[in-house]
């Protein structure tokens, strides 16, 4: 009897988590998926309309804006974070005595809420009191920086704040990668007469490919999810100029009472993320299995 219990105990312990995940994650995904095929407005409805919502969604200007913004934001965010992260990591790896002091400074933004980050950057980039004003006070009268108020440029201010928040994390990933490079490889290259910069561009940076991949996956899925930062910094504005998929989903579902469209946009977001994450997780897991 006790043996039987012991045998089932592990499964019993795991069961609550399994059931919760099954219902609250996969069941909910299925439910939202179902809603995306219905004409739900303010309340959920079960009148199925086929792919109508999907057709409608991709005809909406706001959704197109959201996708274009996501493309701009994600590209710049990933590229700049990777470049800045790699650069700082390489420089920090040159036996810098102040590393212990500098590293936490580069990383602390990761501990902050995007609402806090957004508030700080919102007012710092505000033309009236922030950067532009500072330059004017310093005597550079022609300096103009009104991006955050500009429909065409507001999206780039989101990039500035997001890069500030995440690049330190990418730096930490690269630094861990650089510290894992075999000393012998570097010494051999030096004996061959390669200079420092060539050692990096030809040998070490190409070895960082797995780190680039991890950074890409993490940053890409953060970019698709970005919501708080937009709300705090621009509120999706000016106008709807900084609309993102996440803000689109929220406003269509909860303020515009277009639940069917909202659910559809959520499904598209999920598919975008899974398209990137599933192959990555799968390869990581199967590699772990072989180890």
């Amino acid at each position: 009897m006790i043996d039987r219990l012991q045998q089932w105990l592990p499964r019993l312990v795991l069961a609550p988590s399994f059931i919760v995940i099954l219902l609250f994650v996969y069941g909910f995904i299925a439910y939202t998926g179902v809603l995306s095929f219905t004409d739900s407005k303010m309340l959920a409805s079960y009148d199925f309309v086929g792919f109508e919502n999907y057709a409608k969604l991709f005809g909406l200007t706001n959704w197109k804006t959201a996708l274009v913004n996501l493309a701009i934001f994600a590209t710049l965010y990933i590229v700049i974070c990777s470049v800045v992260g790699l650069l700082i990591a390489i420089l920090l790896d040159q036996k810098i005595r102040a590393e212990g002091l500098l590293r936490p400074i580069y990383l602390y933004p990761m501990a902050l809420s995007f609402i806090v980050t957004g508030t700080a950057w919102k007012w710092f980039l505000d033309p009236g009191i922030g950067l532009e004003n500072i330059m004017h006070l310093w005597g550079w009268d022609s300096f103009s920086f009104t991006w955050i108020k500009d429909r065409d440029f507001a999206i780039y201010t989101l990039v500035i704040a997001a890069v500030w928040q995440s690049s330190g994390f990418v730096m930490a990933m690269f630094l861990a990668g650089l510290r894992g490079v075999d000393n012998e490889i570097i010494r051999a290259a030096q004996i061959d007469g390669a200079t420092g910069i060539r050692i990096y561009t030809r040998i070490i940076v190409p070895m960082m490919r797995p780190v680039f991949l991890s950074a890409f996956v993490v940053l890409m899925h953060l970019a698709i999810k970005v919501y708080d930062l937009v709300i705090a910094m621009t509120g999706g504005g000016p106008g709807r100029a900084t609309e993102m998929p996440a803000t689109f989903m929220y406003s269509y579902t909860f303020t515009r009472n277009q639940m069917g469209i909202g659910a559809t946009s959520a499904v598209i977001m999920l598919m975008m993320i899974f398209a990137i994450v599933v192959p990555y997780v799968y390869s990581e897991l199967s590699r772990g299995g072989r180890r």
């Binding site: 810098i96 990383l107 508030t119 861990a176 698709i224 709300i231 998929p245």
Partner: protein
């Protein structure tokens, strides 16, 4: 990253190169510190000094009035309560959510590494994948389920939400940690007649301190900083700190009290910043593990 011994220096530069490297690193440090500096100096300035003066200059007249305002007087929503009640809401939400998700994560990790059974791989894959879902996909059904459970707009409702969507991470942490724990010790204890829980509490748990710290920090930071769930599922008396801060900053009518906004932002950032300063190494470990290493 922690404790990694430094490589041979690859860039064998002269003094000039090293000075350039230090200058560049210093400039980056300035860039990262700038927003914190802006928040700090402007939170102790009178409002007219921000409007008329230089935002990055130190105050000419120091005042702690904005902090008092932000903490206990500022108008948020309909009431002029300051951020205090919302700060307490966040605490009451974070503490149980972190505790429950960490305990469950530890047990899950234990089962998934030391009591493996057929199909456990699928359970783990499901938990792992749940870490990445965009939460928009669960907002609509979650709102309904919380309503059905009678938890809509309550702190226990938010605790439930954060536990559910934190489980994947905490399980991942403990699974990876326990995977490296020698299984022979477990088998030996089993032969001595120790049961499931006895092995967990006597053998695994005592050596789990580092990963518990990682898990607690990760969960604390994520739940404290959460905005989406707070904005979606809270009601007047369960609004968490991030949502209250956003209301303070973005829906204030009339005069924009920047100094109060900055003080409020620091108040919202303080708990996670303190945790970060006290435990930087573990914080980074959590980040790295969260970046998925299967």
């Amino acid at each position: 990253m922690s404790g990694g011994t430094s490589q041979d220096v690859a860039i064998r530069g002269n003094t000039v190169t090293r000075i350039i490297i230090h200058v560049v690193l210093f400039l980056f440090a300035v860039y990262y510190l700038l927003p914190l500096w802006v928040m700090l100096v402007n939170s102790v300035k009178p409002l007219d000094e921000i409007r008329g003066g230089n935002m990055i200059a130190t105050p000419q007249h120091w005042t702690f009035e904005p902090w008092l305002q932000a903490w206990s007087q500022a108008q948020i929503g309909v009431q002029a309560t300051g951020l205090k009640p919302y700060f307490l809401n966040s605490i009451m939400m974070v503490v149980p959510a972190v505790a429950i998700s960490t305990i469950l994560g530890a047990l899950n990790g234990y089962v998934l590494t030391k009591w493996r059974f057929k199909g456990d791989g699928i359970v783990f894959a499901m938990l792992l994948l749940s870490c990445f879902i965009p939460f928009q996909i669960v907002l609509i059904p979650m709102a309904r389920v919380l309503g059905v459970l009678g938890l809509a707009g309550t702190i226990p409702g938010l605790v439930l939400v954060h536990v559910v969507y934190g489980l994947g991470f905490t399980t991942l942490f403990f699974r990876n940690y326990y995977a490296a724990f020698p299984t022979e010790l477990i088998r030996a204890a089993q032969i001595d007649g120790a049961g499931f829980f006895r092995i967990f509490f006597r053998i695994l748990l005592p050596s789990s301190a580092p990963i518990i710290v990682v898990s607690v920090i990760w969960q604390f930071t994520n739940i404290w900083n959460d905005f989406l769930f707070g904005a979606s599922f809270s009601d007047v008396d369960s609004v968490p700190m991030t949502v209250a801060l956003n209301n303070l900053v973005n829906s204030s009518t009339g005069v924009k009290e920047y100094n109060v906004h900055f003080a409020g932002a620091i108040l919202a950032a303080l708990p996670t910043l303190i945790v970060y300063v006290l435990s930087g190494r573990y914080f980074v470990r959590g980040l790295m593990a969260g970046a998925v290493k299967g």
